[in-house]
């Protein structure tokens, strides 16, 4: 599937440009962090890459430009949305949709729940779990599909530090099994901890791309420098 190529991609709503002419090629391997202040357009960009939104202009192509993108890339959102059924059933739901056989669904689901530390909550109603547990469940659901690429849209923005740590270690584990991580955040510390390279977005434009260490030590652009100094003006 990779590399993912964006070519002069734009997104506008009612004449207002939210993403302006973003061109980038994202390849396999390093954990890519999309960084930027609130309102920079990170969520919209990720949703276009995932396929939830269509760009108003420009093209998004996966390797070869062909087909079944679904089972190969998953997404975890800022707020997890769970169905009114058990934790296990939520994971099985995604697997069934992806076409796995019934028995395999069950096995894979239990395995992944164990991997995220929720094996004891397997039969509890998903909606009665805590915020942190639900987000871990969302990760499990996405991971169970064996995706080549995992998108994460500010996954710990609503979590307390303890849950944040749990989520981050799961992301690391997912990466270790070979999945490409593309994650957005506005948390500088998290970007440093989890990222290998930074895509810096400001006011809808891709302003800078650099390896993590280089970006934080010596940002190349004015906007990046200002953001790091937390002085970037709001839109």
């Amino acid at each position: 599937m990779l590399p993912l190529v964006l070519n002069a991609v734009c997104y506008a709503v009612n004449g207002r440009a939210i993403i302006e002419r973003v061109s980038v090629e994202i390849g396999a391997g390093p954990r890519t962090i999309i960084l930027g202040p609130n309102g920079a357009g990170k969520s919209v960009l990720m949703r276009m890459c995932h396929g939830l939104l269509q760009p108003s202009a420009g093209k998004i192509t996966w390797h070869g430009g062909n087909g079944n993108r679904r089972g190969r890339q998953s997404m975890v959102f800022q707020r997890p949305v769970m169905l009114r059924r058990s934790a296990l059933a939520n994971v099985v739901y995604g697997l069934k949709l992806a076409g796995f056989a019934a028995r395999e669904c069950n096995l894979r689901a239990r395995d992944v729940l164990e991997a995220v530390g929720l094996e004891r909550q397997a039969d509890r109603p998903a909606r009665t779990l805590s915020g942190g547990e639900q987000q871990r469940l969302a990760l499990a659901r996405a991971w169970a599909l064996g995706p080549e690429v995992l998108f994460l849209d500010e996954p710990t923005a609503n979590l307390d530090p303890g849950s944040t740590r749990d989520v981050e270690s799961i992301i690391a584990a997912i990466h270790a099994t070979g999945t490409k991580i593309i994650m957005s955040t506005h948390n500088l510390g998290q970007a440093r901890r989890l990222g290998d390279e930074i895509l810096f977005l400001s006011q809808g434009k891709l302003v800078e791309r650099a390896p993590v260490d280089a970006f934080f030590k010596k940002p190349a652009t004015v906007e990046a420098a200002a953001f790091l100094k937390e002085e970037l003006p709001w839109n």
Binding site: L52, M75, P80, L97, A98
Partner: protein, 234 residues
């Protein structure tokens, strides 16, 4: 106030005496309305889910029409069904005029729009919450509507109860298409209408109290089940 006291007395006497005719009337009322709700649910819930999730030209117009149909006057429905089922009408040879089947048909026509319109609203609200996640997981609109129907099941129970209430309370349509035949198509509402027209107001009121009590009990029971399930499933 005296009539009201007499009414309660009549009601109590009828219930405690387990009057055979009363039981027959109550059972028939329940059979007709429950069957009508079942059919209306089978037709109306998928329709509601479809309109909640699908996008097509004229969708707004269809939704406005559906909402308006909730206010169909029962007596107009009764007259229309009568003309359809009358021997002089197109479906006359079926011979189902003045039977419980005709009453069920009329009630289905009345409550399907209610179930469709209200479930459409409920499921559309849920769709706003679930849409991104379901699409991300690869669900197409058809699959998503089925998933939403199950996930919103507790709100849908309330909607079905609303439909049942409308059906059980209705008198205009079932009177016309059923004929209020003693022992065959006499239900609670038509029995009340009959006793009122005979001037036997305490009896009519007594029957009315029983009807209201029945609907209340049903709603209370459904609510208990809903609460218990909500606590379990969240």
């Amino acid at each position: 106030m005296n009539d009201l006291t007499l009414a309660f007395g009549e009601a109590f006497a009828l219930i405690s005496g387990l009057d055979a005719r009363l039981i027959e009337i109550v059972v028939l009322s329940l059979q007709v309305s429950v069957m009508a709700v079942a059919i209306a649910a089978i037709v109306g819930l998928p329709l509601g889910a479809l309109f909640a999730v699908a996008h097509f030209r004229g969708r707004q117009a269809v939704i406005v029409l559906l909402n308006a149909l909730m206010g169909l006057p029962p007596v107009v429905v009764g007259l229309s069904v009568y003309l359809l089922l009358s021997r002089a009408g197109p479906l006359g040879p079926l011979g189902i005029l003045f039977t419980p089947t005709a009453m069920i048909i009329a009630q289905v026509i009345l409550i399907t729009p209610i179930i469709a319109a209200l479930s459409r609203q409920s499921i559309e609200d849920a769709w706003h919450e679930y849409e991104e996640q379901l699409r991300s997981l690869g669900a197409n609109r058809l699959r998503a509507s089925v998933t939403l129907l199950w996930d919103t099941r507790f709100s849908l129970v309330t909607i079905l109860l609303a439909g049942f209430g409308r059906a059980a309370a209705e008198v205009g349509a079932v009177m016309i298409v059923g004929g209020n035949i003693d022992g065959v198509t006499r239900v609670m509402t038509t029995a009340i209408a009959l006793e009122t027209s005979k001037g036997d107001l305490p009896l009519a009121l007594g029957l009315g109290i029983i009807l209201v009590g029945l609907v209340l009990t049903l709603n209370a029971a459904a609510n208990l089940i809903k609460e218990a399930a909500l606590r379990r499933y969240g």
